[in-house]
């Protein structure tokens, strides 16, 4: 027996609606659950004080500073390298074995678990290069981790720039460099920015890799060559070692709010500056 197309249509819509609702629901539940447990313990003091007795008391100020440092450095290192690689792959070479190899390498790197990156960072930056457990070791390791994301998203964004723009730019007598900087990168900016924002989020939440490279010192880092604990690692230690679940939830709330704030402001900035163009 054949089911009427209008009925299959209705069934399909309701199935998809349900699945989407489940996905959103799970997400909303997790966020609400954590904020529910964490928000009551959030206070100005929690944000601005140093932890006392291993984090059982006090706040997370040094972790906020450490997270900011690791994230900022990682993105500042990875973004130029990643965007430059993407430009090179799309605008300066012809497709060949070389580009295929680079792309394949980037895709493989993207799939490697972060603990492996942590191990590499520990062996290479911390021990071989003698940087020790420090903010800079952590940032370099996280930079390597987010590099594939930045390369691939930038590459997609650059590839999506219509060929006509390139023809016109050349037609008006631009050099390749002028064409790339003034037309291609400019048009691809929203996509490139999306990749960078994604990697900011990933850098903030990275735990395993920074545990092995940035260490878990509780104090406020005085320079990038000192060890510092990030928020996500602090959360991990607080809960894993059963130090304080309330402070763990509060720390997680800070993380979630920070990531939401970054995403929201990134969207706002993009709409403000790129949408208008």
């Amino acid at each position: 027996m054949r089911i009427a197309p209008s009925i299959t249509q209705r069934i399909a819509v309701s199935i998809m609606w349900t699945l989407a609702a489940v996905a959103m629901g799970v997400l909303a539940f997790i966020i609400t659950y954590i904020l529910w447990h964490g928000l009551p313990h959030l206070s100005w003091a929690f944000l601005t004080e140093s932890p006392k007795s291993m984090g059982r008391e006090g706040g997370v100020f040094p972790m906020i500073v450490g997270t900011l440092w690791v994230t900022m450095l990682a993105v500042v290192i990875a973004a130029p390298v990643g965007v430059a690689t993407a430009i090179y792959l799309t605008e300066y070479t012809h497709e060949g074995k070389m580009t295929a190899a680079i792309r394949f390498g980037a895709d493989c790197l993207a799939g490697i678990p972060s603990i492996i990156f942590g191990l590499f960072g520990f062996v290479f930056f911390v021990i071989t290069l003698g940087m020790g457990l420090s903010v800079i070791s952590g940032a370099l390791t996280v930079a390597l981790m987010v590099l594939p994301t930045i390369i691939r998203t930038s590459e997609e964004a650059i590839r999506a720039v219509p060929r006509a723009y390139r023809d016109v730019a050349y037609g008006l007598g631009s050099t390749r460099w002028q064409m790339v900087t003034r037309v291609v990168v400019r048009s691809a900016l929203p996509g490139i920015a999306t990749g960078v924002v994604l990697s900011v989020g990933r850098s903030i939440s990275e735990t395993a890799a920074v545990m092995l490279t940035a260490g878990s010192a509780l104090g406020l880092p005085q320079s990038i060559f000192q060890s510092s604990r990030t928020l996500s690692l602090h959360f991990y230690i607080l809960s894993r070692e059963g130090i304080s679940m309330t402070n763990a939830y509060a720390t997680a709330s800070v993380l979630i709010i920070a990531i939401m704030a970054i995403n929201l402001s990134a969207y706002w900035l993009m709409r403000r500056f790129v949408g208008k163009a």
Partner: protein, 262 residues
């Protein structure tokens, strides 16, 4: 119309001349021994069925074809008597002199004035007063100034298609070219917009040498003084437009202009 025609240059004057131009995409030969002379400050239409090589020929005049891999070109194109395919030709300078309007309006996702100023800025003009003046004169050249002078910072992508195509012409005019190449400039426009762009082309022809590729024969007959008919990579014949359309010397041209194929 008659006034314009009086000032037309004599037949002997030549702005661009191609000589035995051959072009291959890989192993496919897209142009075969094309030799054509283009008069200055005239509109020359290149007509022919799809795939006959007319767009390819057009893109040879500013050497835009070489960007595609696997293209091989033989023969010469002389612009004001100098072969543009000789080694040491400054491509940036060539493309500034020979500008191109494309099939689909393709303004950059920038403001109206940034679109116009893209070329001048690329060529190193930074003087604010001069740039402002260029915006005004270039938009006036395409009759956009009155409509857009208060919206210079609006995104060009918000304009209707006809204005976008005019803006693309303004963008070219701003780099003060000598030749305008137009590759089916009206194929994405409605009939009214098409008519207005054709009028614009007539106006521009008093200052620029225009070569238009079109498979709209009525359009070629309306706007051009000279015409060339291409088929399967060859230039079958070229001459004054009235001759090509009413008294062609080649049977294939006659078959095409009378609509027997195409």
């Amino acid at each position: 119309m008659t006034a314009i025609q009086k000032t037309r240059p004599a037949r002997a004057e030549v702005k661009i001349r191609s000589e035995k131009l051959n072009l291959w995409y890989g192993s496919f030969q897209a142009l075969k021994d094309v030799s054509i002379s283009i008069r200055p400050r005239c509109i020359t239409a290149i007509i022919g069925p799809s795939g006959c090589g007319k767009s390819t020929l057009l893109r040879c005049f500013n050497r835009l074809n070489e960007r595609i891999g696997g293209v091989r070109i033989e023969g010469e194109i002389h612009l004001d008597g100098r072969n543009i395919y000789e080694s040491g030709m400054d491509l940036m300078q060539l493309r500034k002199r020979v500008g191109m309007v494309f099939q689909r309006p393709n303004p950059f996702p920038l403001s109206v004035s940034d679109n116009v100023l893209y070329g001048p800025r690329v060529h190193g003009i930074t003087d604010r007063a001069l740039l402002e003046q260029l915006v005004e004169s270039s938009l006036k050249a395409t009759d956009l100034w009155e409509g857009l002078k208060d919206q210079l910072h609006r995104s060009a992508l918000e304009l209707p298609a006809e204005q976008q195509q005019r803006l693309c012409v303004s963008r070219l005019v701003a780099v003060e070219p000598e030749v305008l190449l137009m590759d089916e400039p009206c194929s994405a426009l409605d009939p009214i917009a098409t008519e207005r762009i054709e009028e614009l082309m007539q106006e521009l022809a008093s200052r620029y040498t225009i070569i238009i590729v079109t498979h709209n024969m009525q359009q070629a007959a309306r706007v051009s003084q000279d015409a060339g008919f291409m088929l399967l990579g060859q230039l079958v014949e070229a001459g004054p437009t009235p001759t090509i359309f009413t008294n062609p010397s080649d049977q294939r041209t006659e078959d095409y202009v009378t609509g027997r194929y195409g």
